[in-house]
């Protein structure tokens, strides 16, 4: 049987993917990318989980969960917020130039 944590995180990735493809508003698309990121992070952490284990800090007795995915996700979260900030500032730039955030209108003007 597939685990509910995996199902939830893959669902988040799929929702994010749906937003990115279906929506035409730039900020909405960026929010979609963030949802995708969060899904992958949750997936990673759940891969590292061990039943009845504690956080990998020596003050508490073991057994511990896998610390590597946690280290990787720390990196991934920071990268996610960096991409988001940059994408938002590009979206603001587009808004300044075209007065809209709707992809259809922006590309329609270009024709």
């Amino acid at each position: 049987m597939i685990q509910y944590y995996y199902l939830g995180s893959i669902a988040l990735i799929a929702i994010g993917m749906y937003i990115v493809i279906a929506k035409r508003n730039l900020i909405k698309i960026i929010l979609g990318l963030d949802i995708m990121d969060t899904g992958v992070n949750l997936l990673f952490i759940s891969i590292g989980y061990v039943k009845n284990a504690t956080a990998p800090i020596e003050n508490v007795p073991g057994p511990y969960v896998d610390p590597i995915p946690q280290a990787l996700v720390l990196t991934a979260i920071v990268i996610g917020v960096s991409v988001m900030a940059l994408a938002l500032s590009i979206a603001i730039g587009i808004y300044k130039k075209t007065g809209t955030l709707e992809l259809d209108e922006i590309l329609g003007v270009k024709k």
Partner: protein
């Protein structure tokens, strides 16, 4: 089913629902707030999965700061999705 499973399933369902709300809201500000709530719940999930470091980071960066950045961006553009 133990308590861990029940609480996790409930929180995961809430996470997915907030993500769907964020997807379907026409008001971008509400969508952003829904996303912030989603990040917070995910950080609780991280804590339950014994990842306190990640939970703190997600709460501070994922929920608080990235929301602030999104809200600033919405403030300097427009609030409604067409």
């Amino acid at each position: 089913m133990d308590l861990f499973t029940i609480v996790s399933i409930i929180l995961i369902i809430i996470t997915v629902i907030t993500a769907i709300i964020a997807a379907e809201m026409k008001d971008l500000l509400s969508a952003a707030i829904a996303l912030g709530i989603m990040s917070l719940i995910v950080s609780i999930l991280f804590y339950m999965l014994q990842a306190p470091d990640v939970a703190i980071t997600e709460a501070a960066i994922g929920a608080a700061l990235s929301m602030a950045v999104v809200i600033f961006a919405i403030r300097s553009t427009e609030r409604w999705e067409k």
